[in-house]
Symmetry: C2
Subunit: 539 residues, 2 copies
């Protein structure tokens, strides 16, 4: 058809700027220069100071080799330097690779090699891990220490972050000509297999940073507590979100219950994100730790496995919960349990039930569906038919680094295949039923391990529950439950099975219950592959 | 440099979707299907119903000739059909041309011809105007009536909006392959000269719709009252904003003080935008109309000429005000008086003073500066040096339709030249001093007419004030003030001049004061060109 009379009105420097979250830092520095940007136990800095430091840092990183197409890695907990790296590194055109600090040296070496790191930023607490990893790696990146008053530690680098930040430089951020350019490289902390390097882009980081504001009704100047690791999917884009709304990042080196409760009481925290394991820890914390909370704190937990029973316990703690479904491939949250007007009138149990569903697509994501994995035909919205969860839109990764096959498989046919299974409810809210590999097929019936876990969580003695398939000579597979009990618990296997019998179809009741500690990944994900191995042998 | 190891991870249908505000309608229908979308005095509809109707309408419009590169015009007040047109027309790929209903037939005919309208949508109240315009125009668009229970009127078209909306159709929205594609054509209601056709794009409409949420902290499910005409710069993108946040559009055929106060009292209105003239009307409304207001209503006035004195008057009416600076070329608001933490502690007068400045760049706009018009060097941020206001970023128009010269002039050198003059304060907040042509040059000194108007507005007897240049044999030009007084006012020219003498440098004091009605455009802009003519002859 063509643009007819509208032809010839082209984009130019006045009316087109690539979308990149580094714009948010520039605006925060211009508009809220004196507002607190980043604080930790020892210090604090404003948005103007943060922008000045990041400009100097970006200039220095360029001198040390950072550039378009290159990787700058960082090994650090949630310290101020980690926030700064989320701006300073993209400002050089390079790709920010945050590394999970709880990995072992071999895994870190793999990442440094696979991502071909040019520069590695190291927090003193991570220096021993970094040194060991570097001794194993082929890569030999320039090392920069991230000194921290709270944890003096050992310097292993040839340069020092704070010195670089204070060295005045003239520098203009290198904005990618194409906004669909790589901004971050995050290796999935998957529960099995070799890690894959998820490459995300400036456009999606910008849009998801904004989407976080819309999804959460974040408001102006939130005081955001960092319990979610920033090395986990760039803290779901919240470093950039905080710049967009002139918020304050309250950094926390160690995610411990006493430190969190202290911050909630003393730092006027308004919001935090958390893995389910953190919420569980808080809900089960000793009464003395939980006293003195006043204002409502809003929490966004990433609930790949929603512990529905936590809601009432958490809500009693002046906490307001918004569940999200998080995948590294979708820049973090891509589905949110958006509350409907009217949910406030439900009974607590009914409200917990609707709020325990992962929900609807994120505000600026284009599409989410539950569909047949092969035909990509959506399943009926009946809350029962299980299909694979697919997503599409601007908040989907570029692909997996150096893995064309995996990229093509994941992004085939116009949709990103999440590998997760779920159902669509009649009101358009989706609920996860399982990772594809976690579904239990018993006597030809699909059994959702999450559904069984949800029931187990409603038993007052259960702290953690994980259900996996166990080979069964008669049924093919049968559910095996691993359970951690509260310290003063009195329930035994018979009691839990009775509880299940009262709350689910009989063919779904776990045939075995194993008590004891459950292995988890660094991000709190339960390591089902390990449980499956145990179930097969000892269950 | 190249992308190195990151090469080859390309955009595809799974990870890239053109940004267009029609996505917001699809999401609102999916996520908040049963939530009230549009209401007026007679009726109401949900977001699902709105999406269904718009799908049917878009299918019908395509049949009637709507397509990429073509123009669909609409002559209507703020009725539900006007909201629907903001989705149904872009869904066809065509460009939506909202026409100011207060123009005369000749001006409407000019727009239909210049924009080469394929289809014209006509509200019954505008049918006489449309008929007369069509008799003058070369263009012969297909006419579609927009029937309305509130105003039965005359049908002049060959089709009927409501019938088309109810005719079930299978239709997939035509999303532009390039998001930098035209979405709307708005003729500037300039105070002088031939109207120019401002062409805006899908990308900017999407981003500014979101920017409205961030700037205003709009929250979920606002109840938004339409006093700002949607024919004025697409209601500053708020039809799309409301879909993005699942809000409710409360339509108002006539912007009268009784209807507005009734809506504020009875419809739980949370937000509205307004021309300054509307705020002035409300602030000066009779006491009996203003009774019964309870909750705080948030107002975003477009203040090209900020009547600073209105603030205290308005704030007494449980109204919370956020000033914005609006230009058609920037999709509406592009600068906002973002409140700083700490402003709440100021005295009312000091707060009114800081809040009367237009402010800082809109959240998703890239840049704003006050600079020398020729060199584009920023002026000092001293609150005194006058320069031209420039903007750049994704919330700037594609250009002026069929006017390459004006487009190139406006978008030259990487910045959009607004033609407005202002100063930059030390805290980074800009304040408009004048349209370039409204500045008064007296004895070699630049005098801001707005500064004089602001002082006049602080006099309790003044309802409206407008200052223009008057030829002066000695000084070249001198300020001449036109003033509308309150009905029970007692001030005379001497009293107002004494008031000015007490509040400004003496060379700025108006030498002439003329009392009586002041001519305004349909959008409430004072017609300074008419006042200048009067000042030259009778002032």
């Amino acid at each position: 058809m063509g643009l007819g009379i509208y032809s010839g009105l082209d984009r130019c420097a006045a009316n087109y700027a690539p979308l990149t979250p580094i714009s948010f830092l520039a605006r925060a520095a211009d508009v809220f220069p004196d507002h607190s940007a980043i604080v930790d136990a020892a210090t604090g800095q404003t948005w103007r100071e943060t922008a000045d430091r990041c400009r100097n840092l970006a200039a220095a990183l360029c001198q040390l080799g950072a550039a378009e197409g290159r990787t700058v890695s960082i090994l650090a907990p949630n310290v101020p330097a980690m926030m700064e790296a989320h701006f300073a590194v993209p400002m050089t055109g390079a790709v920010l690779n945050t590394i999970n600090t709880r990995l072992d040296a071999r895994a870190v070496a793999y990442i440094l090699d696979h991502g071909e790191s040019t520069i590695l930023l190291v927090d003193p607490e991570c220096a021993p891990l970094a040194s060991e990893a570097l001794s194993l790696a082929q890569a030999s990146p320039v090392i920069i220490d991230l000194p921290d008053a709270e944890f003096p530690g050992v310097a292993i680098g040839t340069a020092d972050w704070d010195t670089l930040a204070k060295t005045e430089a003239v520098f203009t951020p290198i904005v990618p000509a194409d906004e669909f350019a790589p901004i971050a490289l995050s290796y999935t902390s998957g529960t099995t297999g070799a890690p894959k390097g998820v490459v995300t882009h400036h456009r999606g980081a910008y849009l998801n940073a904004v989407s976080n504001v819309l999804a959460w009704d974040l408001g102006h100047h939130p005081r955001y507590l960092w319990t979610l690791p920033m090395f986990h999917c760039n803290g779901w884009c919240f470093p950039w979100t905080l710049a967009a709304v002139g918020g304050t990042a309250i950094c926390l080196r160690r995610v411990r219950e006493d430190a969190i409760f202290k911050a909630l009481r003393e730092d006027a925290v308004t919001h935090f994100c958390a893995a389910p394991i953190v919420l569980s820890m808080l809900a089960n914390a000793h009464e003395t730790l939980r006293t003195g909370l006043t204002g409502t704190v809003r929490v966004m937990p990433a609930a790949a496995t929603p512990p529905a029973a936590l809601h009432p316990r958490m809500e009693a703690m002046v906490v307001d919960i918004t569940l999200v479904y998080v995948l590294t491939e979708t820049f973090g949250p891509s589905v949110v349990a958006a509350p409907q007007p009217g949910w406030g009138d439900l009974t607590p149990a009914a409200r917990a039930s609707v709020m325990a569903r992962q929900g609807v697509r994120y505000p600026l994501q284009e599409g989410v569906m539950i569909a047949d994995p092969t035909t990509k035909t959506p399943v009926p919205a009946d809350g029962a038919t299980i299909g694979e969860i697919f997503m599409r839109g601007n908040i989907v990764m570029m692909g997996y680094l150096k893995d064309r096959d995996a990229t093509e498989t994941a992004l085939d046919g116009g949709w990103f295949a999440t590998g997760d299974l779920g159902v669509m409810h009649p009101d358009g809210y989706l609920q996860i039923r399982d990772r594809s590999k976690d579904i239990i097929i018993s006597g030809g019936e699909n059994i959702s391990s999450i559904e069984i876990e949800d029931v187990l969580y409603t038993h007052p003695d259960v702290v953690t529950a994980a259900v996996v398939a166990r080979p069964d000579p008669r049924w093919g597979e049968s559910p095996c439950a691993f359970v951690e009990l509260r310290a003063d618990a009195r329930a035994d296997a018979a009691a839990l099975i009775a509880h299940c019998r009262a709350n689910m179809a009989h063919f779904k009741i776990p045939r075995h219950i194993v008590f004891g500690p459950i292995p988890k990944t660094s991000t709190g994900k339960i390591q089902k592959f390990a449980l499956r191995a145990r179930a097969a042998t000892e269950g």
